[in-house]
Amino acid sequence: MQMPAWWNTVREFKRPWWWKWVVWIAILAPGLLTIAGFLSDVLRDTRWLGSNPVKEGEQILGLLTIKYLVATLAVTPLRRLLGWNWLARDRRTFGLTAFFYALTHFLWYVLLDIQLDGAELVVDLTKRTYIIVGFAALLVMVPLALTSTRKSIIRLKKKWTVLHQWTYLVPILGVIHWWMSVKADIEEPIVFSLTFAVLLGWRLWYARRETSQHAATPSATSAAP
């Protein structure tokens, strides 16, 4: 297939020197601004987060988690589509960012929303399905975050790849948690569910295409373990 000339320009785009600064700002600024806005609202009677800053902040952090899960899962398709292999190293950054926003979202809920009410926490974590599902998503992320180091990749070898396929479960649990927590306004959960469906669906499609291409070449089949 003949691609237009600009397509080559796009594919040849290299990681610019300022890229890491863009990433750093993108991952830190939303969280820091949310916390700063919250503190200002509580201590100085501003309304950066509206009239109910505890609730608003909690929701912002949940949404940031979802958005960084999108970024994490978008890295590999973008590498394949645009040939931007230099994006690879940002995948871990985005994944860890999603984890830290999820953790902050949970701590926010425990400390600021239910305000260390142990009895309420126990009921929530045992009876309220959407909280159980959200907590499960956080738990799944813990071993992934702990084994995100280069050392772990080398030490765990193949097991690392298998373990990190659990990543795909996190956005599914995440959107279920979100979907179940809203009253009737499901528009945003739908949009992000579709986004995840595309990102996960692409992987299925790509894996299937790879297998069939390998099957077509006799040498590849014989070399397969």
Binding site: G50, S51, N52, L116, D117, E120, K183
Partner: protein
């Protein structure tokens, strides 16, 4: 330490040290008078000392530490899905809404039905200012100085027929004026209902204003229901029809999620919403949560309406 768990839940609410003493970022607003809040929020002067007109221990059941929620919050933190599902959507999207001229239909099982221009409709009763607690089913709360008439006066003028047992309320349905109605978040128009004795109760108001001014559009202009012992979503906004009937009316949220929202919607700290506890609430403007009071603190006035009823089933 900033955050401390509540240990005084067994004390009567009147003996609990107001949480506002620990940390209340907006207390000074209320303390300095509603005027300041008005300047900050709307840039217009409001009647002075409205809060002082109604000291603690009035028949309306205001507690000592109930301070009116600033105008800025009352008019910017709203659930009014006809103008969007976000809390700040209604203030933005209802800006161009024209609540006049307005007609209210009173019909069903009444001896004197009719279509009333709002001005004539309101002649049924005497306009009063009343400060009520407002508890949302989402576990936040406010204290709101309403202005309006008693629903009982409207019903008396219409003369309920002998068999009438319920009152059904309907919001305006007009997607061109209420853009939120173009999406199917609820089955439009919004409908609510009360038992006739609840509707006749002296606490039940039809509000036409807050803070002594006409209701802002986002608060349900020009006419909304106020039942302070029930969760906020009972307070149907922009009412165009009041119908008396002998059957329990269908209500919008019950229709949407019957396991979560019943017909009665009475504030009850012992009956949880399936997805969250109702034992405590976050008063807008305060950091620490307060215990939620039975019937939102209006038990003395309304508990007798429900004697013998299982409030766990009739939520």
């Amino acid at each position: 330490m900033l955050i401390r768990p509540r240990t005084s839940a067994d004390l009567p609410s009147s003996e609990i040290t107001p949480e506002s003493l620990y940390l209340n970022r907006r207390e000074w607003l209320a303390a300095a008078g509603l005027t300041i809040g008005a300047i900050a929020g709307a840039g217009t002067l409001l009647p002075r000392g409205l809060a002082a007109q109604q000291p603690a221990g009035t028949p309306y059941g205001l507690q000592k530490d109930d301070k009116p929620t600033p105008w800025a919050d009352v008019t910017s933190y709203n659930n009014f899905y006809e103008f969007g599902t976000g809390k700040d959507d209604p203030a933005e999207m209802a800006k161009g809404f024209k609540p006049r001229p307005w007609t209210v239909k009173v019909d069903g099982m009444v001896k004197k039905p009719g279509d009333f221009a709002l001005e004539d409709f309101l002649k049924a009763g005497k306009v009063e200012d009343r400060i009520y607690r407002h508890r949302c089913v989402e576990a936040w709360s406010m204290v709101i100085p309403w202005r309006g008439i008693m629903l009982a006066d409207v019903l008396k003028r219409a003369e309920p027929a002998p068999g009438a047992k319920f009152v059904e309320f309907t919001t305006l349905y007009d997607p061109t004026r209420m853009p939120g109605q173009r999406s199917d978040v609820l089955r439009w128009p919004y409908r609510e209902g009360l038992r006739l004795d609840e509707a006749m109760h002296p606490l039940t108001m039809l509000a036409t204003g807050v803070y002594g001014r006409d209701l802002p559009n986002q608060n349900g202009a020009p006419l909304r229901l106020v039942t302070p012992w029930k969760y906020g979503f009972k307070g149907i906004k922009s009412i165009v029809r009041i119908r008396l009937t002998d059957r329990q009316p269908e209500t919008a949220w019950n229709d949407s999620a019957p396991n979560e929202y019943g017909f009665y919607c009475n504030v009850n700290p012992t009956v949880d919403h399936p997805r969250w506890s109702q034992a405590k609430e976050r008063r807008i403007g305060e950091f620490l949560r307060r215990p939620t009071l039975m019937f939102n603190g209006y038990a003395d006035q309304v508990a007798s309406l429900y004697t013998g009823m299982d409030l766990r089933k009739n939520y």
